[in-house]
C-alpha cells in the first residue's frame, strides 16, 4: 500500500515539475483579419482600467465610465484635441447660432445607425438632453442644462435648442461626458449600451472586463475613404492595481493605458517598446478652506495659509513634477489667453506668521484636513502639513475613503479638504458650480459679491477680449483672497506600446483619446 502511495507521490511530483518547466507558447496569437480593408485595419486593442462604476451615461462618474462610453457612444458635437469643435467628427454635420447665442440649431448627419440598426434622428437627440435635464432622472447634468428652455425637432435631422440666457460656450456644454446620444426607445440604459459609436459591446462583466467589436456600419471614413475604425475591437480589462496594469503593459499583455501613476514614468520611458504621451491639463487637487465658519472664515487666515504654502515643493513631492505649478485659481494655463500669467506665488513664511498673529492665532492654530485615500491626495496633505508646521499651524490629517469624502457630509461640509476637480473644456463651469455664492458645489462656502458679478458677466460676454479681461480680474480675486489653494495642475499621462500609432492626446480635456483613428503598425 505504501509503495503505491510513494508511486502516486512520485507521479504527482513529476506532473508538477512538468507543469513548472513547460514554458508557454506566446499567448497572444495575432490573427490576421481575413480581408483587411487597408493595411491599417485589424487588431484588437487591449487596455486596462480600474472597474467602472456606471454604464448609464446619465450617471457616469469615473474615468473608466467615460472611457467606455466614448467607445460605444458619440456626442452631438465633438470637441477636438486642440479644444475646438470639429463638425467632421460629430453627429451634427453643421450648426448655426443666433446673434445672442440663445438659439442653437444643429443639422444631423443622415444615415447614422445605432448598433441595433435603428437610424439616429433628431428625436433621439431631443430625448437624450431631455433625460439629462429631468430632475426626476436625477443626472449630474441637471444644473448644467437648467438653462435649456426647450428642445424642438422641426424635422428628422434638425434639432433646435432654445436657451433661457445666452451661452457662448454651449457647444462645450453639450460635449459634457454624460451627453452621449442614446436611443430614445431604449428601455434599460444600464444594460443595453445601444449607441452609434465606432465599437459595439459584445460582452460586459463589471468585475472583470468589457469586450467591444468594430461597428461594421460606422459612418466615418479616413482621408483615403476607408471606413473607420481601424481596430477590429477593444478589450478593456478591469485591474485595480496600478502596478499590475504597468507590468501588463511592459509584458505586452495590454497595449494601452489611459492613466499612469507618475512613479512609473521613468521605468516606462526607458522601455524601448513603450511610448509615453504627456500633455498639460486643467485637472487639479483643490485644497479648499471653509470660508463661512471656523478659522478660515477670516480672510487673514486664508491668506496666511496661502502664503505659507510652497506649491512647487508639493508638485515635486506628490507627483514627481509631472505637472504645472498653479496660482490658487481654477483657471489654468491650458485655457490659453483666459489664463492670467503672473509669476509663481512665492512662499513667505514671515508674512504668513504676521497674518496669523493679526488674526489672533499668534500662539498657533490647530486645524483638521479631511483627505481622500486615493493617490496623490495623502502625499499632498502630508507635505502641506509639514509646510504649515513652519508657520505655527498644526494640521491633523484625517484619511477617509473617497466615497466617504464625497458623501454629502463630506466634501461639502468639512472645514478643510482636498477635492479633485476634473478638467472642463472652458473655465466658466468651475465658477458657476463651486465659487459663486449659490453654486451647487460651493464646497468652501465662500461668498464674494464682486466675484459673483464678474462671473455672471463673463458667462454672458460675447466679445472675446472683454471676456479675457473679466477672467483675468476673477483670477486676481482668487490670488488675493480666494478660498482655495491649488498647488498644481497635473499632466495627463498615457502609455502605449510603440507599434500603436495614431494616438493624439488632447489638451485641457480628460484622458480620452480618439481611438477611431488608432491602428497597429505592422
Amino acid at each position: 500500500m505504501f509503495k503505491k502511495t510513494l508511486f502516486l507521490l512520485a507521479v504527482i511530483l513529476m506532473a508538477g515539475m512538468l507543469v513548472v518547466s513547460c514554458a508557454p507558447d506566446d499567448p497572444v496569437v495575432d490573427e490576421e483579419p481575413e480581408e483587411a480593408i487597408s493595411e491599417k485595419h485589424g487588431g484588437v486593442l487591449r487596455t486596462a482600467t480600474y472597474a467602472p462604476g456606471n454604464t448609464d451615461p446619465a450617471f457616469f462618474g469615473t474615468v473608466p465610465d467615460e472611457h467606455i462610453g466614448r467607445q460605444w457612444g458619440e456626442f452631438l458635437v465633438f470637441i477636438d484635441e486642440g479644444n475646438e469643435p470639429d463638425p467632421d467628427r460629430s453627429l451634427a454635420e453643421s450648426w448655426e447660432v443666433d446673434e445672442e447665442a440663445r438659439v442653437w440649431t444643429f443639422n444631423l448627419r443622415e444615415g447614422i445607425l445605432f448598433h441595433d440598426g435603428k437610424e439616429l434622428t433628431s428625436r433621439d437627440v431631443q430625448f437624450t438632453f431631455d433625460r439629462l435635464r429631468d430632475p426626476d432622472v436625477g443626472a449630474a447634468t441637471v444644473t448644467t442644462y437648467a438653462n435649456i428652455n426647450e428642445i424642438s425637432t422641426p424635422d428628422d435631422y434638425t434639432v433646435v435648442f432654445e436657451l433661457e440666457d445666452s451661452n457662448v460656450d454651449f457647444l462645450f456644454d453639450i460635449f459634457d461626458y454624460h451627453a452621449i446620444i442614446v436611443d430614445a426607445d431604449n428601455d434599460n440604459f444600464a444594460t443595453n449600451l445601444n449607441g452609434t459609436g465606432p465599437f459595439m459591446v459584445e460582452s460586459y462583466s463589471p468585475e472583470d472586463r468589457i469586450v467591444l467589436t468594430r461597428n461594421p456600419d460606422y459612418w466615418m471614413n479616413d482621408a483615403d475613404g476607408n471606413q473607420l475604425p481601424y481596430l477590429d475591437g477593444l478589450e478593456i480589462i478591469f485591474l485595480s492595481e496600478s502596478s499590475a496594469q504597468i507590468e501588463a503593459l511592459r509584458g505586452g499583455q495590454i497595449d494601452y493605458l489611459i492613466y499612469l501613476p507618475t512613479e512609473f514614468i521613468p521605468l516606462l520611458e526607458e522601455d524601448p517598446g513603450i511610448e509615453v504621451y504627456q500633455t498639460p491639463s486643467n485637472t487639479s487637487y483643490v485644497l479648499r478652506m471653509r470660508s463661512d465658519e471656523g478659522p478660515a472664515s477670516d480672510v487673514r487666515v486664508r491668506q496666511a495659509l496661502k502664503a505659507g504654502t510652497d506649491r512647487s515643493a508639493i508638485l515635486d513631492g506628490a507627483i514627481d513634477g509631472y505637472g504645472t505649478v498653479a496660482r490658487d485659481t481654477p483657471i489654468g494655463p491650458a485655457y490659453g489667453d483666459f489664463y492670467l500669467d503672473v509669476p509663481e506665488l512665492e512662499r513667505d513664511v514671515e508674512k504668513a506668521v504676521e497674518l496669523l498673529e493679526e488674526a489672533g492665532y499668534g500662539d498657533g492654530l490647530d486645524i483638521t484636513i479631511t483627505t481622500q485615500e486615493s493617490s496623490p491626495v495623502p502625499a499632498i496633505a502630508t507635505i502641506w502639513k509639514e509646510q504649515m508646521a513652519e508657520i505655527g499651524v498644526n494640521v491633523d490629517i484625517q484619511l477617509v475613503p473617497s466615497d466617504v469624502y464625497y458623501s454629502p457630509e463630506g466634501w461639502l461640509e468639512v472645514p478643510f479638504g482636498i477635492t479633485d476637480w476634473g478638467a472642463r473644456s472652458y473655465p466658466q463651469p468651475y465658477l458657476d458650480l463651486a465659487y459663486v455664492c449659490d453654486g451647487q458645489w460651493n464646497e468652501s462656502h465662500w461668498c464674494d459679491p464682486e466675484l459673483d458679478e464678474l462671473a455672471a458677466a463673463a458667462a454672458r460676454e460675447m466679445d472675446h477680449d472683454e471676456r479675457v479681461r473679466l477672467y483675468h480680474e476673477i483670477q486676481e480675486i482668487f490670488i488675493e483672497r480666494g478660498p482655495i489653494i491649488i498647488p498644481f495642475f497635473i499632466n495627463n499621462l498615457w502609455g502605449a506600446s510603440s507599434d500603436l500609432k495614431g494616438l493624439n492626446p488632447p489638451i485641457t480635456l480628460g484622458t480620452a483619446m480618439d481611438l477611431r483613428v488608432v491602428y497597429f503598425e505592422r
Binding site: F2, A23, P24, G138, S205, P206, A244, E247, G252
Partner: protein, 315 residues
C-alpha cells in the same frame, strides 16, 4: 464513522449559520452609502432615495437578513447591485478559477515541501537542513507583492518565459489558462512551501526518535524502507492539517497575489465587492470561502483518522 460525520456536518451547518450572521452584520457597517456608490457622487438626493427604496435598503435589518439567507439557501444569491445581474454565475466562475490556481499551487508546493522537509530532517543541523530551513522561511516572510513583482520582472519581463499578467478570459479552459497560472502558482508556492517543509521536518524528526523506528532499524530493514513504511506514514500527520488549512487560504485568501497578477479569482472578486459595496457579491463570496474552509478541515480530520487509527472517533 457515520454518527461522527453527521455530527461534524451539523457543526459545519452551525458554522455557516454563524458566519452568515457575522458576514451580514459586517456588510451593514461598511462606510458609505451603497445607493450613492451606484449612482455616483453627483447624483441628486431624490434619485438616491428612490434607489435605496428599490434595493430594499429601507427594510428593517432582520427582514433584510431573513430575505437574503432564505434566498441564499434556495440558490438565489441575489443580483449584483452594480451590474444588476445574478451573482451566482460570477461567484461560481471565480471559484473555478481559484480552484485551478489552488490545484496547481498545491501540486507544486506540497510534494516539494514534503521532500525538502524529509531531507532537512534526515540531515538535521547539517548544511542541507540549514539551507532548506533558512531559505524556505525567508520565502514565507517575503510578502507576495514583493515576490510576485520580482518574479514578473525576472521571469516575465526579463526572460519572457511567462505572461506578466494573468487576467485571463473568464471562460478559458484549464489548458488555455495554464501558462497564465504558473507565475501566480509559483508565487503562492513560495509562501506555502515553507510551512509544509517546516511541518514535515519537525514531524519527521519526532518520529525518527521513536522506539518503533529504532526497532525497525535494528530489525535490519533498509533505511529507505524504514523511512517509507514507518516514518513517513506517521510524520506526515501534521502536514495533512497544514495542507487542508492551505486549501481555504488558496481559494479565498489570495487577495494580494490575484491583484498583482490581475488573476480573476475569488479573492479579487471579494476586494472588488468591498470597494464597490456590492453586498450580494461580498456575502456570497464570503459564504463560499467559509464553506470551503469548513469542508477542507473536515476532509483533513477524516484523512487524519485514516492515517492514524489511534485518534479515530466515534466508532
Amino acid at each position: 464513522m457515520g454518527p461522527y460525520l453527521i455530527r461534524r456536518f451539523g457543526f459545519i451547518l452551525l458554522t455557516l449559520f454563524l458566519a452568515s450572521l457575522i458576514i451580514f452584520s459586517i456588510t451593514q457597517f461598511l462606510p458609505g452609502d451603497i445607493a450613492q456608490v451606484i449612482l455616483g457622487q453627483f447624483a441628486t438626493e431624490a434619485a438616491i432615495a428612490n434607489l435605496r427604496e428599490e434595493l430594499g435598503l429601507n427594510d428593517p435589518l432582520h427582514m433584510q437578513y431573513l430575505n437574503w439567507a432564505g434566498n441564499f439557501i434556495r440558490g438565489d444569491w441575489g443580483d449584483s447591485l452594480v451590474s444588476r445581474t445574478p451573482v451566482r454565475p460570477i461567484v461560481t466562475q471565480r471559484l473555478v478559477n481559484s480552484a485551478m490556481l489552488a490545484g496547481l499551487a498545491l501540486l507544486i508546493y506540497v510534494p516539494l515541501g514534503i521532500i525538502l522537509g524529509v531531507i532537512a530532517a534526515l540531515k538535521r543541523d547539517k548544511l542541507p537542513d540549514q539551507l532548506i530551513t533558512g531559505v524556505s522561511m525567508a520565502f514565507v516572510g517575503l510578502p507576495e507583492f514583493v515576490s510576485g513583482l520580482l518574479l514578473i520582472s525576472f521571469l516575465a519581463i526579463g526572460l519572457g518565459w511567462f505572461p506578466a499578467n494573468s487576467s485571463i478570459d473568464p471562460d478559458s479552459t484549464f489548458l488555455e489558462s495554464l501558462p497564465y497560472l504558473i507565475l501566480p502558482a509559483i508565487t503562492v508556492s513560495l509562501t506555502g512551501l515553507g510551512y509544509i517543509a517546516r511541518m514535515t521536518r519537525s514531524g519527521t524528526i519526532d518520529v525518527l526518535r521513536a522506539d518503533y523506528v529504532r526497532a525497525a532499524e535494528l530489525k535490519g530493514l533498509s533505511g529507505r524502507s524504514v523511512l517509507i513504511r514507518h516514518v513517513l506514514r506517521n510524520s506526515l500527520l501534521p502536514t495533512v492539517t497544514v495542507v487542508a488549512m492551505g486549501i481555504g487560504w488558496l481559494l479565498g485568501g489570495l487577495i494580494v497575489t490575484e491583484a498583482v497578477y490581475g488573476y480573476p479569482g475569488l479573492g479579487r472578486l471579494l476586494v472588488y465587492g468591498i470597494q464597490r459595496q456590492d453586498l450580494p457579491i461580498i456575502q456570497a463570496g464570503s459564504m463560499i470561502v467559509v464553506a470551503v474552509y469548513s469542508l477542507s478541515n473536515l476532509a483533513a480530520d477524516i484523512l487524519y483518522g485514516l492515517l492514524n487509527p489511534r485518534i479515530r472517533v466515534g466508532k
